[in-house]
């Protein structure tokens, strides 16, 4: 029962509609790899997660997923999120996205 409640809570939190303030972009300092990751993020991810916030898809900047899970979700997709194979997103591009997202 406790596990079910926890799962329900995570679903609610994961799907939360709370209003988020924009990322403090002006203060953000990115490493060179994160800068490259930002460009790739903008091309493939920004349309559903504009600025990392919720839009068509849920917000991702408010959830601290480890890099391994970010990679897994991008490669396999999850729910309505499509999968991006290596032809669509090369390994080094995915590495850069992970670096970027974990910098935020």
């Amino acid at each position: 029962m406790r596990t079910l409640a926890l799962i329900a809570l995570l679903i609610i939190c994961g799907c939360s509609n709370r209003i988020m303030t924009p990322a403090e972009d002006e203060k953000l300092v990115l490493s060179p790899e994160a800068v490259e990751g930002q460009k790739v993020f903008m091309e493939y991810c920004n349309k559903c997660h504009p600025g990392g916030m919720s839009g068509l898809g849920p917000a991702i900047i408010n959830k601290e997923l480890p890099g391994v899970l970010i990679r897994a979700q991008v490669r396999t997709g999850l729910g309505t999120m499509p999968a991006f194979n290596e032809e669509q997103l090369a390994e080094d591009e995915l590495d850069a996205i992970v670096t970027y997202l974990t910098s935020l």
């Binding site: 926890l6 799962i7 995570l10 679903i11 609610i12 939190c13 994961g14 799907c15 509609n17 209003i19 988020m20 303030t21 924009p22 972009d25 002006e26 930002q38 460009k39 903008m42 091309e43 493939y44 920004n46 349309k47 559903c48 504009p50 600025g51 916030m53 919720s54 839009g55 068509l56 898809g57 849920p58 917000a59 991702i60 959830k63 601290e64 997923l65 480890p66 899970l69 897994a72 979700q73 997709g77 999850l78 729910g79 309505t80 999120m81 499509p82 999968a83 991006f84």
Partner: protein
């Protein structure tokens, strides 16, 4: 399994279930608002060192802004809004005290989607929902001259722009449908019954794959089901290998005409709704292009709004691509449904990568390019995002757009520039006095001030859009000295 790994996995799972579980939560949905907007610049977040203020208010569906040779401000009130509201479009001068003087009133053939002042005349894109699109010149004595008419604007999208450059008037022409096929959504927009013969027109010859779509009888044809193909009128099926001849004027294009008069010229095609047009200092043309919606006979999911760098003669992918990505692939199918089928048997060419990809349903519309080191962000495209019109365009989990963004046209990085402090969404939804639906921006002639045209309140629901008159505002953003 360790809790340290389980919790992130459960977080990821919860993320994946979001879209299916939740109802749509767009910016105009479930909002109670009236015409009395409270305007509080302090509710708007701009970068450190800048300020924003109200210039004028109480406008009805403003869409464009320009300046005459004396620096006086002129605004177009469009005269039409989605939601089938038809009024007389107007060119209005905003005086220094914020009062308004109507300079010219047009015919009920809006929307007037934009205005550009050049050498003493105003050039207006008349959207043409009722009679077809036009490009109109208005001289200082108020006389109107039609330079171009009969543009294919009777459907979902209209004639947009214009912008004057090197002796030419450039303008955008949106497509008739969402993704190539008239259907139930065309009837809901209001135009299918007015113009059942209307359809998309390619700019060059295309060969169809012969894909057809069935709908219930929408026009009383007494058929149980109607079958419709792409680039054809409702109820007309296509065949494999069928050639549709290209023509000018055409849908989904950027076209131009000489200021001195002359034939219409095609600049580029394969856009969906090229709304905003601007040239940078180097003379390169950029356009904003509204992406596909999740509606109609061929819904497309997950297609962002695009910023394109335009090269003459190129094809930009509509109706089979979003940017450089084919929509018949994974990622563009409506959840739970098959991917859209390709409509063209052969691609005219390979579409390029977009200069930038913005939020799905953000309605990235009118924009300008910063040309002033004094204002800052030199070379960046400053784009007004009108905001989503969910649920009609498709479901969103949170409001998308309702702000002004700046885009590095070289890297494609999109950043917020002007946004409500309380977060995502229009002022009416957040119950604050900030921005509502920015639809266009224009820099002052000296480049030191950014003027933002705020269309005003448009509520949305399953019944369609509900725009509110007299809620439009002009904002001005400047650097603090």
């Amino acid at each position: 399994m360790k809790w340290s790994l389980l919790l992130p996995i459960l977080s990821a799972l919860s993320l994946g279930s979001c879209y299916s579980i939740r109802s749509s939560s767009g910016g105009g949905q479930d909002v109670k608002a009236d015409k009395n907007r409270s305007l509080q610049p302090a509710d708007i977040k701009v970068p450190v060192g800048y300020k924003i203020e109200v210039v004028a208010s109480d406008l009805t569906f403003p869409t464009g802004i320009t300046f005459d040779d004396e620096g006086r401000i002129y605004v177009t009130e469009s005269g039409y809004s989605y939601g089938e509201v038809f009024l007389e479009p107007k060119l209005v001068r905003i005086e220094k005290d914020g009062s308004k003087v109507t300079v010219v009133t047009g015919e009920k053939n809006g929307p007037w989607n934009g205005v550009f002042h050049h050498s003493g005349s105003f050039y207006i894109a008349e959207g043409g929902q009722m009679e077809g699109g036009k490009i109109i010149r208005i001289t200082t004595d108020g006389k109107q001259q039609v330079l171009v008419e009969g543009l294919p604007s009777l459907g979902d999208h209209h004639t947009n722009g214009p912008v004057v450059h090197n002796g030419y008037i450039y303008f955008g022409q949106g497509v008739a449908t969402n993704s190539g096929v008239p259907g139930k959504d065309s009837k809901e927009f209001g135009w299918l019954e007015r113009h059942p013969e209307f359809h998309d027109i390619p700019c060059k010859d295309i060969t169809l794959a012969g894909v057809n779509f069935m709908t219930d009888d929408l026009l009383g044809s007494k058929q149980v089901k109607d079958t419709t193909g792409a680039f054809l009128p409702y109820g007309t099926p296509s065949t494999e290998g069928q050639v549709i001849k290209g023509a000018l004027p055409c849908s989904g294009s950027v076209m131009r005409v000489l200021l001195s008069g002359g034939p219409l010229e095609l600049v580029a095609w394969g856009f969906r709704n090229p709304y905003g047009l601007a040239f940078n200092k180097e003379g390169t043309l950029f356009v904003t292009d509204n992406g596909y919606d999740d509606r109609g006979s061929r819904p497309v999911w997950g297609a962002g709004d695009l910023l394109w760098k335009v090269e003459e003669g190129k094809w930009y992918g509509w109706p089979d691509y979003s940017g450089h990505q084919g929509i018949a692939e994974d990622g563009f199918s409506v959840p739970g449904e098959a991917a859209p089928k390709k409509l063209l048997q052969t691609d005219p060419s390979e579409p390029p990568h977009a200069a930038a990809v913005m939020g799905v349903h953000s309605s990235s519309n009118g924009f300008d390019i910063s040309r002033s080191a004094e204002f800052g962000f030199e070379g960046e495209a400053i784009i007004a995002q009108f905001g989503d019109m969910a649920p009609g365009v498709g479901k969103v989990l949170s409001p998308v757009g309702f702000k002004v963004v700046r885009v590095d046209t070289g890297t494609g990085v999109v950043r917020d520039l002007v946004v409500n402090r309380q977060g995502s969404g229009p002022a009416s939804r957040l119950d604050v006095g900030g921005i509502e639906r920015p639809v266009a921006v224009r820099f002052s002639p000296d480049g030191t001030a950014l003027y933002i045209v705020d269309f005003g309140i448009m509520l949305t629901s399953e019944e369609g859009p509900q725009p509110l008159e007299r809620t439009g505002v002009i904002w001005k953003m400047t650097k603090i000295k």
